[in-house]
Symmetry: C2
Subunit: 167 residues, 2 copies
Amino acid sequence: MEFKEAKNKFVQTWGALGSQWGINKTMAQIHALLMVSSEAVSMEDIMEELQISRGNASMNIRALMDWGIVYKEYKVGERREFFTAEKDLDELAVKISKERSKREIKPALKVLKEVSSINANATSEEKHFVDQTKKLYDFVLKADNVLDKITEYKDNWLAQILVKFMK
Amino acid sequence: MEFKEAKNKFVQTWGALGSQWGINKTMAQIHALLMVSSEAVSMEDIMEELQISRGNASMNIRALMDWGIVYKEYKVGERREFFTAEKDLDELAVKISKERSKREIKPALKVLKEVSSINANATSEEKHFVDQTKKLYDFVLKADNVLDKITEYKDNWLAQILVKFMK
DNA sequence: ATAAACTTTCATTTATTTTTGAAAGTTTAA
DNA sequence: TTAAACTTTCAAAAATAAATGAAAGTTTAT
């Protein structure tokens, strides 16, 4: 397989993955393209490489910047804007996770808290509902913090040594 | 808020969450409904509660069973089938994570390995591509195993005590 | 064997999401 | 200030995904 083919395959695959994870295909493809480009890329080039319209490119680049995983760059003597992606993968994971937490998990937690606080006066049906949604609340809350925990743990060399030692 | 309203709100919220995470809305709603039902529920009742067609119900229940998070149940003297959801949340998380890994992560890893193995003969552009996709491969591979690691860690009381102690 | 009770399938319809592209907006150089 | 070079917006179109429902399939009781 030669370079161009490999690059294309990577972009397509990353795009498909993105669309299964709630990020739209083009957005993920642009991100993929930028991640493997050593140089910053212009909008024109993105349109050309992905065969997409100006509007589509513009909107999805904007979205990526809102997520904080793509940056604008200026070149001297160039009027156009260029774009680069966050290439540090730990940083990328943290940003994506924070953003999804904010947009999706936090609102869901709010609802879970609400519905688990109803007055379960009588039936076992209602008791079960309250019980189960409370458990869900705790679980989602914990899961939501998992990435922070992992980051902490990664920086904690003593914990790492101890856990390795025990295995 | 009274029970019926709370239940409905929960089902809607869980459904929306599902659709942001690559699971379709109805599938997530059925799962939500079953999770908070103390009794097994018939297809007829699912159709009624969610206001969906027979075909839709059938196909999504089937999908949930394929994921291993919904089970069929039979009642004596009843010809109809009833359904229940996996209610243990750790178990649920493990099953979902395994299934998504199998369906999405593993194929992506395969491609990442492929494209990072091209002969980067010359340009710095090609070198950067190979370098970045290799990093991605390692990263995704590690991330893919995170849940297993957490499960291990949860069962390891000594690790837990030690890490708590250090904080 | 038959028919009632139930479930599954899948071509078609409906709903949702994404993309387009032309017009409006912005910035910069002269 | 003007106009060229560029970016953003958004209504409409296209593409994609999900839902319907009637027909086909299956199971069970008699």
